[in-house]
Symmetry: C3
């Protein structure tokens, strides 16, 4: 993790949070930022690469937006378009999500989408975050997160939106909804997804303290389903997917919907209020001040 | 399990499913059918034997319908009549459910009740399945499942309808709601009961993949409460029951109702819709075709 | 535990329950009373001592009402007044609750508040129990229970009302909602709090049998978060609190409210009905007879 932080500091991924250290009952925690700062460039190269194997019906979606796969509006839009295409493609039955970057799966929401932006733009951004989760958590495909690096905040949300999580067995990689650490509150549907995954009490502890779990600790609380050596994350995801696809699609899909529909409907019927809520929170002077301090910290690190 | 499958193949218990193999995070899984085919005969011998010990207030209900205690309409009717009698009998405070058959507790719903039957008959059958669960999950008696063999699908539902589960410590015996494997969807009240027992995430994984758990794996996820050597399943159930009966009935019953009422009420207020839903699903051409293929597979095995 | 029972018998803490022994799947259980009998005196010395460290913002609330910190109306009133004061005090951000007594955290509700009292008085008492839980479970402060002794029934409720539980690593100390053992039913909000803490199934088993868990067993099911040697309970609570207070208050408080609001609102909107229900139950002849027998048992022990 230290390496990730050091490298990413050049680009903006790092943090005021390094001074914080939270001790969970499962052992040591290292704290990562939950927002990341993406290097600005005008590149039009795709942030996401999708390979669909028609013989198996399995698509691999690779996030390839250096340095840390920040979830910017552009990234999320591209992600959702790809997801929608695959969802419509009857030859695609399974989706594996992974990262081409070293040491990081995704560092979460892009801080630049929330700092100094108009309420309209903030609202557009938040709608895209909602859309990513709605599409993923409710996907008809079997979805597996092949988590080959750290995955804080929005990266964790993406992971727990899948059906199954395989993580690199590296204690330096961490995962969790750590928003609280930054003074930000994970919205109710982040919370609901986490409760559905690890149960009420682990979710409560995790969210109140903004805990990041090392890969072994994440396995202990059920935040991920399986740990494998780093170079076997993708191949294990492929093997696991073949078992998921041995189950009749129709029955699996109805069952999945039965398990998740209530949680999804709750956001669907509160979507506008959730956007309003986010915008009014993030555009507060106090929050903007926090974000500026955070950004200045990142800049001084870069210098 | 292989032996069970081999033996039962003579009678119809077996499967197209033997080709499927699901690997759970808790290790190997063997897959059993969730529907069973009962040998047809005109026997009027009871499928269930009940012994009530008036000195202890404990009844032992033995399922004795070879080859695999399939839950046919006749079986379920007899089961419910017995349960109701015991419920009305003030001298009966505790109920232990077990099987007289070797290697199987109950193989679940009888496939013949669902193949080539009129919608009316299918509806009657489903109502009986509902009734079994309603009576068991809401029983005022302390109920213990003494699971002395495999217990897939409907057999698992019966088990998790009890207050406590003691299973034979034999890795060849398996238990689980494996309906999805057959292209069938466990209805919401199967799902709710499973969630109440093992939590949301284990239930989701279990239902989406139609997992059967070996006895040791079932203990790990809390699908059963205790494993004991096969020849001690019933005696341990008796010992455990005496501890349950040391608790004042009145307080235990109100507490049980407080824990389970919401789940029971959900079916009670959707009972007709649930029947309609089942009948319209099971009488679909595609589902009937699957069942016919399954039956032909069973017949060719028998030949 | 045996020692606690023996010592406390002099004062009234003990029980008809010593004849009961419940075996949980986690090993041996010893059974303690869930109601306690407080020594009557006219002392006006405070039952609770609060020390607020203004440099850290952490208050330590010490329960010091011998012999067993019974939750009488006076005790609860004093507790709530102190809690409210701290809640209003902006310099106080964290609260640690512990006991000055040897071997007991709190023995729970005072039986004398429920025996031979008018319905009005019973209602007043129950309202105070509700108030204690409402204030604690919904507190804006970070709250840690430093459980340095046994903590049955109401003592357990107080513990699970906090954000975090550290218990003395002594197998003779036990904790649990054991009301059922006495023929009493834990009300829905006791149940909801327990479900939120240990999950549905562990709560069901625990409440139906009225289980008390030894400290190690309590850790296994997640009823407490951490065990430490007895002489380190308070210091560990202080260390842990500093980690909780490293999290921005505002985000932690909103998150806590998001996790607990629904459970709290359920009591708030049923508060009068819950009081009526308690009063009508506790003033029943049969329940009063049970309480009298229990009291006589305690008196004969004292003699």
């Amino acid at each position: 993790m230290a390496n990730v932080l050091r490298n990413s500091a050049k680009f903006g991924f790092s943090g005021v949070l390094s001074q914080l250290s939270i001790h969970s009952r499962h052992g040591r925690e290292c704290v990562s930022p939950c927002f990341s700062l993406q290097q600005r460039n005008s590149s039009t190269s795709p942030k996401i690469k999708v390979d669909l194997d028609n013989s198996t019906g399995v698509a691999v979606l690779r996030m390839q937006s250096p340095p840390v796969n920040s979830l910017s509006l552009d990234f999320l839009t591209e992600f959702c378009i790809n997801l929608e295409k695959l969802e419509m493609d009857k030859s695609c039955r399974g989706l594996i999500i992974t990262s081409t970057l070293s040491k990081v799966f995704s560092a979460g929401l892009d801080i630049m989408e929330m700092y100094g932006k108009s309420p309209e733009r903030c609202g557009e951004f938040w709608k895209a975050v909602q859309e990513m989760w709605l599409k993923l958590y409710g996907s008809n495909m079997a979805t597996i997160a092949a988590i080959n690096g750290s995955s804080p905040a929005g990266g964790c949300l993406m992971s727990i939106g899948c059906d199954y999580r395989i993580m690199a067995d590296n204690p330096r990689y961490s995962i969790g909804l750590n928003e609280t650490q930054l003074g930000i509150v994970a919205p109710f549907w982040f919370k609901d997804t986490l409760v559905n995954t690890v149960g009420n009490r682990a979710a409560e502890l995790s969210l109140e303290l903004g805990l990041l779990y090392s890969a072994p600790d994440a396995l202990k609380i059920g935040l991920v389903d399986q740990l494998v050596p780093e170079d076997q994350v993708l191949s294990t995801a492929q093997d696991t997917m073949s078992k998921w696809l041995a189950v009749p699609d129709h029955a699996r899909q109805i069952t999945k919907s039965m398990m998740r529909k209530q949680t999804i409907d709750k956001l669907l019927s509160n979507r506008e209020a959730d956007i309003t809520n986010f915008v009014s929170f993030i555009t507060k002077d106090s929050i903007q001040r926090s974000l500026r301090m955070y950004l200045e910290m990142l800049k001084s690190r870069k210098a």
